[in-house]
């Protein structure tokens, strides 16, 4: 029987690989594969094969000093501790080994024992772990060290974690069967975790100087303090098994690796025996899980990542929609409800409260100057990333609705009305996020040394005017791309994976950057012209807002043409031909 399962696993993998190669006959995949291959070679593989610049790999200077290896081991152990803790707290369902619907249909009624199914599941997860190990090794290898040690270290960590997740799901089921509810289990585990943290805290308070801004002057002293807390007292015992898991990965040579390997393998073996001897009925929950998995895969392939993530709940609209008025508003209303699945008003309020409380607490603790600069830099980076990644992440526009293009086409609306409506929601969400950052940034001005409130506030105001139109323009590009090259971008038909898909995404990112640069040139020229004229007469702070308005007007004109063009593209979008292709 085990050979039948191996046969299934082998041929599933092989056929998937063959179909990947076969599709390279299509230029879109071939070009994507070439670009993706070059990317992977350039960033990862050339270091693996020794092609270092000047004899050493870039990033090698980031290698942790040997004396801090223990700290690294502790931090790794701490991360694993948190992951394991969450595995005991967050899940609420019974043990469910996720099989595909086909596997459930064929294997569950077949004369296959429960343990055989567990082995099949473990075997299949090894394939996933193998690829994760490959990618993680390629990444971690950039920072130096032996590739084989890294690979085996990653494999041990991921495989032991995988077994632990499975074992904990079995234990959860046993507890449920014995009348211990999820709530009680969570309370017990959380109580235990709190007791452990409290124990470490009390021990540290009694034996070491307290944590305050006077004793911790830089990152080095903070790390030293952390190392002292975690290498003695109760934390030493709490983290010990997790340190055993991390140790092989951090070994500097083969001898150290072999020394660390034995206890780590023993831990792995204990986990295996735990899973193997747990006699838990998982079939019923697995059938349900496989159906959910199929739904999630279908949602993800439709570009609907929010639908893929979790069970949906009905959301209230952000505003009331009257039956008369501009039809584009209906799309904004509709898509905001969809966005509400991830960005609820409660989340926004929580975000603001966390940021404000954190700033004030740290400010009162004597860190206000540091905090102001750190938060200021964070805001600048977050704004830049919102422009770069925001339009890629917020996809409740044509990229989400294209599978329903035939429905949209029956609406008695012009193309531009649908186009405008479709992209309004991501623009609104992005702009709201950016304005929130700007408000926090403006508030920080009062903490900064050498105050220049007028200039900073003028920059924030100028950015607040410019950003929504810039967002609109940025969102037009991927939406136009999906209408022009629907088979290149995942919508409702397929979601390509692998090197070729990475290459396709890179090509699109470069194309987007090029179009954006061209679009920004006239707006930049308008901004610069107005700024230089006014700077000499009324000063920089006063000149920024009119200059931003001038830039915004140019961007708005461009965006207007863009919306009209997008509408034309949608009107010409041939649903039948795209479905046929």
């Amino acid at each position: 029987m085990v050979f039948a399962l191996l046969y299934l696993q082998y041929h599933t993998f092989r056929n998937r690989l063959v179909s990947r190669f076969k599709r390279l006959k299509q230029p879109k995949y071939l070009i994507g594969a070439i670009v993706g291959g070059l990317y992977f070679y350039w960033y990862f593989f050339r270091y693996l094969f020794g092609g270092f610049t000047n004899g050493r790999q870039p990033g090698a200077h980031l290698t942790f000093p040997t004396e801090h290896l223990q700290l690294l081991e502790l931090l790794g152990a701490l991360v694993l501790f948190i992951i394991v803790l969450l595995a005991w707290i967050i899940p609420h369902e019974r043990a469910a080994l996720t099989f595909t619907e086909a596997e459930v249909a064929f294997l569950f009624p077949a004369p296959v024992t429960r343990r055989m199914l567990i082995h099949f599941k473990l075997l299949r997860s090894q394939l996933r772990i193998f690829f994760s190990v490959l990618l993680l090794t390629l990444f971690s290898r950039r920072f130096g060290g032996n590739a084989w040690i890294h690979a085996l270290g990653w494999w041990l960590i991921l495989s032991t974690l995988n077994l632990h997740f499975l074992g904990s799901s079995f234990a959860r089921t046993i507890l449920l069967d014995r009348g211990i509810s999820n709530r009680l289990r969570r309370l017990l585990v959380l109580g235990l975790a709190v007791a452990m943290v409290a124990g470490v805290w009390i021990w540290a308070k009694q034996t070491m100087p307290g944590l305050n801004s006077a004793s911790i002057t830089d990152l080095g002293s903070a790390l030293d303090y952390l190392q002292r807390v975690l290498t003695a007292g109760p934390a030493l015992y709490f983290l010990y098994p997790f340190r055993l898991m991390v140790r092989p990965f951090l070994a500097l040579d083969a001898t150290a690796f072999l020394g660390a390997l034995v206890p780590a393998l023993l831990l792995f073996l204990l986990h295996y025996l735990w899973v193997f001897y747990s006699d838990v009925a998982f079939e019923e929950a697995s059938v349900e899980a496989s159906q959910k998995l199929a739904a999630r895969v279908a949602a993800a392939r439709a570009g609907n990542w929010q639908g893929a993530k979790k069970n949906r709940k009905a959301k209230r609209p952000w505003f009331n929609l009257a039956s008369s008025g501009p039809p584009a508003t209906a799309f904004l209303w509709k898509n905001l409800i969809g966005v509400g699945q991830a960005f609820s008003p409660r989340l926004w309020i929580a975000l603001i409260v966390v940021v404000v409380v954190l700033c004030f607490s740290l400010g009162n603790a004597g860190f206000h100057q540091h905090v102001s600069w750190v938060v200021g830099i964070f805001i600048a980076i977050a704004l830049a990333y919102s422009l770069l990644l925001g339009p890629q992440l917020l996809r409740l526009d044509f990229r989400h609705d294209l599978p329903l293009a035939d429905v949209l086409k029956t609406f008695p609306l012009r193309g531009w009305q649908i186009a405008l409506g479709e992209i309004l929601a991501p623009v609104a969400v992005l702009a709201a996020f950016q304005w929130l950052l700007l408000v926090v940034g403006a508030g920080l001005v009062y903490y900064l040394p050498g105050k220049r409130e007028a200039l900073f506030l003028a920059i924030a105001l100028g950015a607040a005017v410019l950003l929504p139109v810039l967002d609109l323009l940025l969102l037009l590009i991927p939406n136009a791309a999906v209408l022009l090259f629907p088979s290149w971008i995942p919508t409702g038909k397929d979601s390509p994976r692998g090197v070729e898909a990475t290459g396709q995404r890179l090509i699109f990112m470069l194309g987007q950057l090029l179009v954006l640069t061209l679009a920004l040139l006239p707006a930049g020229a308008a901004f610069t012209a107005v700024f230089f004229v006014l700077n000499f007469t009324v000063g920089a702070a006063t000149a920024i807002l009119p200059a931003s308005l001038a830039g915004t007007v140019v961007l708005a004109v461009e965006a207007g043409f863009g919306v009209m063009l997008l509408g034309k593209l949608f009107e010409r979008f041939n649903v039948a031909e795209e479905n046929a292709s």
């Binding site: 739904a295 949602a299 609907n304 929010q306 639908g307 949906r312 709940k313 009905a314 959301k315 609209p317 929609l321 009257a322 039956s323 008369s324 008025g325 039809p327 508003t329 209906a330 209303w333 509709k334 409800i337 969809g338 509400g340 699945q341 609705d401 329903l404 035939d406 429905v407 086409k409 029956t410 609406f411 008695p412 609306l413 012009r414 041939n574 649903v575 039948a576 031909e577 046929a580």
Partner: protein, 252 residues
Amino acid sequence: MVQVEGLNKLYGEFTAVSELTFSLQSGEVLGLVGPNGAGKTTTLRCLAGIIPPTRGTVQVGGHDIVRDAIAAKKQLAFFTDEPRLFDYLTVWQHLNFIARIYQVADYERIGAALLEELEIANKRDALPGELSRGMKQKLAIACGLLHSPRVIYFDEPLTGLDPLGIRRMKDSILKRARDGAAIIISSHLLHLVQEICSRILILKNGQKIADGTLAEITQKFSEQPGDANLEEIFFRATSETNAGAAPPPLPH
């Protein structure tokens, strides 16, 4: 209400619909039948303005579906075989959204009545993911009927419905026709077509091979008087070689 003149739809070299001409009056129910790949769905999509015809014209309520698309689309509703819904809008939010798109002033009253008629009033706050296949179909129908269309296209309207749902759907179609709507139904269910359609149009390889009442088509294709079974006539009309060829036998 619907005027189709020389409709052609080509995909590259492939002809999906060829020189299709017919018209449909208010209150008529036209059954569009044909084997797989005959061009039924393509025809309906052209008639609904989802895909443009390669040649020919389609007029809905006197408006050209290509040149005067907005006015034409305001008068029609198209129900696909698979209900196409927004997965994050509740039943009532769907109606609210459609009301704004079609500017239906009194949508709350009409919507509530439709939900009652279709027996999904208790699912008002449910998401499509919480509805059965049949209920999704009913929601799609409620959305389509909200603006009181004068022309309605159905593509396989009975797919996924239970026997009671099928009965209600038939009654609903006939009620709309009595109220003056022009209806086209594309279906493989010949007994449905025979039961509720006042006219039948048979397509094969994108070409019209018959158009008329059941009696007229029977007269054209039957071998003996009184042979009025649409299934028999369908096989005769669409058979490749022998006019009277029977369908292939079932395996034992």
